[in-house]
């Protein structure tokens, strides 16, 4: 019912506006078309400058209201993210000046040079000096931005530091699977045709002994504060994207083509809760590449913790091998059955 009422009201408003507009045409015939055209010109000229003033006020107001909700109010959570932020400020300064300057000039000119019987237009068809000036100045400004940008780009996409820990993250509709290499520090091989939705979500090849201590979890990715981490990014089905807004980085997950990304977490999750003043704060992994109907709910969690907490957490993790073959799990089997491998695992834990 309200729907029809709304439509009726909208149509009514339309009719009123239309009648006014129609009447204005008759009025202009009465007043003389030229006179009324000039009046309209004055009104629009005034609106130009009014729009400029209100618009600049709006920009300021919008910033007042919204700046506090962006990520820029507190530090980036990664060492590399801090560089993104500083680059962002430089770019904002350069583009901000140009934005304000050109918008003022545009609307001010429109207002200032509105039609007037007194003005004789200035026939000014070209000027090489001017054109060279405004080719070179943008070119210089852009060179500066490109240099800053590329230095960061090569850092971000370059080799991860040697002491980086490696975590594999695999996207699937609609969630994330994390894999740690286990005590041997190496990932076992996998093949997608081995994937079993229940017992082998990544398709690990059990014949490869390196897989036997790999830890696979879908709960959360644990990272260590201050320790660089290299993510090896995969996808199981369609293209996803590991979006880490707090760390200011993202990278696509492409089926068949692993990608990598590295960064150094700067604050633990607990510290970020304090910094942001939000007790519910979490490092969220958002899927940033359209991946199907559940795209909007494809969330992962990263827990950044201290080294000690990380070691404690890792000690509680069971190799995925044991989930697939419970009979090989030493905690299920008699001690006499334990293999050499498991003994090793336990020693490590």
């Amino acid at each position: 019912m309200t729907m029809y009422l709304t439509i009726a009201v909208i149509i009514l408003i339309f009719i009123v506006i239309f009648q006014i507009a129609k009447a204005s045409e008759y009025v202009s015939v009465l007043k003389g078309e030229e006179t009324s055209r000039k009046q309209n010109n004055k009104i629009n000229g005034f609106l130009m400058v009014a729009f400029l003033v209100l618009g600049l006020f709006g920009v300021w107001f919008c910033n007042e209201k919204l700046f506090g909700r962006t990520l820029l109010v507190h530090d980036a959570a990664s060492v590399e993210g801090a560089r993104v932020d500083s680059m962002l400020w430089v770019t904002l300064a350069v583009t901000g000046i140009v934005f304000i300057g050109t918008q003022i000039v545009l609307f001010w000119f429109a207002f200032k040079y509105q039609e007037s019987d007194k003005r004789k237009v200035y026939f000014f068809s070209h000027s090489n000096t001017l054109e060279v000036v405004w080719t070179i100045i943008p070119a210089i400004a852009l060179t500066v931005l490109v240099v800053i940008g590329l230095r960061n780009w090569f850092l971000f996409t370059g080799e991860a530091p040697k002491n980086a820990m490696v975590v594999e993250i695999t996207g699937k509709q609609f969630g994330w699977i994390y894999r740690y290499p286990g005590y041997d520090g190496a990932f076992g091989k996998k093949y997608y045709k081995n994937i079993d939705a229940a017992s082998n979500t990544l398709g690990l090849i059990w014949e490869d002994e390196l897989t036997h201590d790999d830890v696979v979890t879908e709960q959360a990715m644990y990272l260590v504060k201050g320790k660089p981490v290299k993510l090896v990014i995969n996808s199981r089905d369609v293209i996803h994207d590991v979006g880490l807004s707090q760390f200011r980085l993202k990278m696509d997950a492409v089926p068949g083509i692993p990608t990598t990304m590295w960064f150094t977490p700067k604050y633990t999750t607990a510290e970020m809760k304090e910094i942001t003043g939000n007790p519910n704060f979490a490092y969220e992994i958002s899927c940033d590449q359209m991946c199907g109907n559940g795209h909007y709910s494809m969330k992962g969690i990263i827990e950044v913790v201290s080294q000690e907490e990380y070691d404690l957490w890792m000690a509680k993790q069971k190799p995925y091998y044991f989930a697939a073959f419970p009979e090989k799990d030493p905690s299920n089997a008699k001690p006499s059955d334990s293999t050499k491998l498991v003994a090793k695992t336990m020693a490590k834990n």
Binding site: L106, G256, T260, E284
Partner: protein, 594 residues
């Protein structure tokens, strides 16, 4: 049609006689009628596409409310008055596809290239009127097929307008990728054919059919812009088509161009190995980026013309304007991978694309400064067309500057696929081009229909739309700076993004209002065709270009008698104290050189 006999005498056109309803309004080969067909079809799509955005904005603004009327309208796609994720993504996808291709490509260059090229270069029609007609009817067929995809059981395609495989290739990964996607590809393929037929025609016409004296450097900037647009389209659309053909093979014939190592939930591992999902993105963006300029250049051309006419001043830096169009057209082909910085691209390759991308800012800056200088010391008439042209410049600045952020890969790695991108391309490509299109409609409506649009409605249309467009898209930059991803149906589960709920509601309310004002424009348009104020002078804007030398309602063939000869460039406004000097006026003896 009083001029038919004359035309006949001038043996210029074989179609001038015996127009039936069918040949005049349906299968017309008159470029002006084809232009109107493109325009009206484009407007229908714009309304549908805009309405789709209203529907999904309601979801974003009011995720907890239910709208019973939506269930009446969409049935199972809005059970309980609550739009489903499937429907949301289908609407977002179709909104993008139709606005980019059907409205801002076909509706913009289809309309104005067809309408203005013969009229402004002094030709009686296109090089091949028949091909021109086919171009429209391929577009029409594409439209019908795109619409029909809304009625298939599994719904229309819902994987985003960029149609990245594997999502777009696997019906099991998304219901929209079943028969909805087949229709989407067929529709797009027909659309590519349409734009190729059109583009070849535009190029041939501009190069071969200029009237006597109309050298390339005497062409209005609209024609230059439309020329580069057509070249871009002809060179890039075939690549998109090839990408789609490979996609059809992957979907239906078991090939693995784009597919590799895939395990689909509930289905199992697929046999495809060795393909590259990234290959499609290269093919897609090789069109996709020039496409941005296919959308933008016609608007730039028309704005240059309209700014000059209504400032009563020559366009500043005519040759620089052509040069910057040329530079943009070349660079448009060399920057496609800036859409792919986060795909795992080779970092060196990425750095080359950063450099080339930011280089585009230079010709863009030249254009902006030249437009500003055109206004300087002019005598500005605020016709509705002029208002929209000024609005275009404002929006082009605002959206262009954020391109400098996104083109710099190290920033893109943070902002990619967030609302910052949504804000950027809507302002610079969507709204700005739409403003160019409105400017063109208001300016050339008197030539199209022999009537004026209502000015007061035009003023209301402009001021509400520009204020609204900024209110919608400006705050989105902040959402992007918070990392808020695009194409999310609901943000309530996200600790990082849910702080924008009230803002999303505000944006939704404004977008509904702006949409309503577009309907007002639509009403103005159709009302004025029939009941608008009649045009009584040949040259209502006191313009120099050739289209205003034709009769008020030109017949097929455009000019009665000889096509006029051209003696000068089109921008002699205010020269030697003379308000305007049409291109057809011979150069006087004591006239100064510019």
């Amino acid at each position: 049609m009083s001029n038919e006999a004359v035309l006949h005498d001038n043996h210029s056109h074989e179609h001038a006689h015996h127009d039936t309803f069918i040949t005049k309004y349906v299968f017309s080969q008159d470029h002006k009628m084809i232009a109107k067909q493109f325009l009206i079809t484009g407007m229908i799509w714009a309304v549908l596409g805009g309405f789709m955005s209203v529907l999904f904005r309601l979801q974003l603004g009011y995720p907890d409310s239910s709208f019973p009327w939506m269930e009446d309208l969409l049935g199972k796609w809005a059970k309980g008055g609550h739009i489903t994720p499937e429907a949301y993504y289908a609407l977002v996808t179709t909104h993008g596809t139709v606005l980019v291709f059907f409205v801002l490509t076909a509706g913009l260059s289809g309309t104005f290239a067809n309408f203005l090229i013969p009229l402004q270069i002094g030709a009686r029609d296109m090089a091949s009127p028949f091909m021109n007609m086919l171009s429209y009817w391929f577009f029409f067929a594409a439209s019908i097929i795109m619409m029909s995809s809304f009625f298939v059981q599994t719904g229309p395609f819902s994987g985003g307008w960029t149609a990245y495989p594997p999502l777009s290739a696997l019906g099991d990964a998304s219901p929209g990728s079943k028969s909805g996607m087949d229709l989407w590809i067929i529709s797009m393929a027909l659309f590519v054919v349409s734009s190729l037929l059109g583009g070849l025609n535009y190029i041939a016409t501009i190069l071969n059919m200029r009237t006597k004296g109309m050298s390339m450097t005497r062409l209005p900037l609209t024609i230059w812009a439309l020329f580069f647009t057509a070249v871009l389209g002809v060179l890039s659309f075939p690549v998109l088509l090839s990408g789609f053909i490979l996609l059809i093979f992957d979907r239906n014939f078991g090939t693995s161009f784009y597919l590799s190592d895939i395990f689909v939930n509930g289905v199992g591992a697929l046999p495809n190995e060795g393909g590259s999902a990234i290959l499609f993105q290269h093919l897609f963006w090789f069109l996709g980026h020039p496409e941005v300029y296919i959308i933008l250049l016609p608007a730039m051309g028309m704005v240059s013309e309209i700014l000059s006419v209504n400032s009563r001043k020559p366009i500043f830096g005519y040759m620089a304007m052509i040069g910057s169009l040329f530079a943009i057209a070349i660079l448009a082909f060399l920057v496609w991978a800036h859409h792919m910085f986060v795909t795992g691209l080779n970092p060196f390759l990425g750095s080359v694309f950063v450099l080339l991308t930011l280089l585009i800012a230079v010709p863009s800056a030249i254009k902006v400064f030249n437009w500003l200088t055109t206004l300087w010391r002019g005598n500005i008439r605020f016709t509705p067309g002029m208002l929209f042209a000024i609005g275009f410049v404002s929006l082009f600045i605002s959206g262009g500057l954020t391109g400098i952020w996104l083109g710099n890969s190290a920033l893109d790695i943070h902002l990619h696929d967030t609302y910052f991108v949504v804000a950027h391309f809507h302002i610079v490509m969507g709204v700005a081009s739409m403003f160019g299109m409105f400017a063109g409609i208001y300016h050339w409506f008197p030539k199209m229909y022999g009537k004026y649009l209502n000015n007061t409605l035009g003023y209301i249309h402009f001021w509400v739309t520009i204020a609204g467009a900024y209110m919608i898209f400006w705050p989105m930059h902040y959402e992007g700076l918070a990392g808020m991803p695009r194409r999310y149906y609901d943000f309530s589960i996200w600790e990082s993004f849910k702080q924008f709920q009230d803002l999303n509601r505000f944006i939704s309310v404004v977008s509904i209002m702006v949409f309503a004002v577009q309907l007002l424009f639509l009403f103005n348009f159709f009302y004025s065709i029939f009941k608008g104020r009649k045009v009584t002078t040949l040259n209502p804007w006191k313009s120099n270009t050739l289209e205003w030398t034709t009769p008020i309602n030109p017949g097929h063939g455009n000019w009665v008698g000889e096509i006029p000869e051209v003696y000068r460039w089109p921008y002699d406004y205010g020269k030697d104290g003379v308000d305007f000097t049409p291109q057809t006026t011979p150069v006087g003896e004591e006239e100064s050189q510019h």
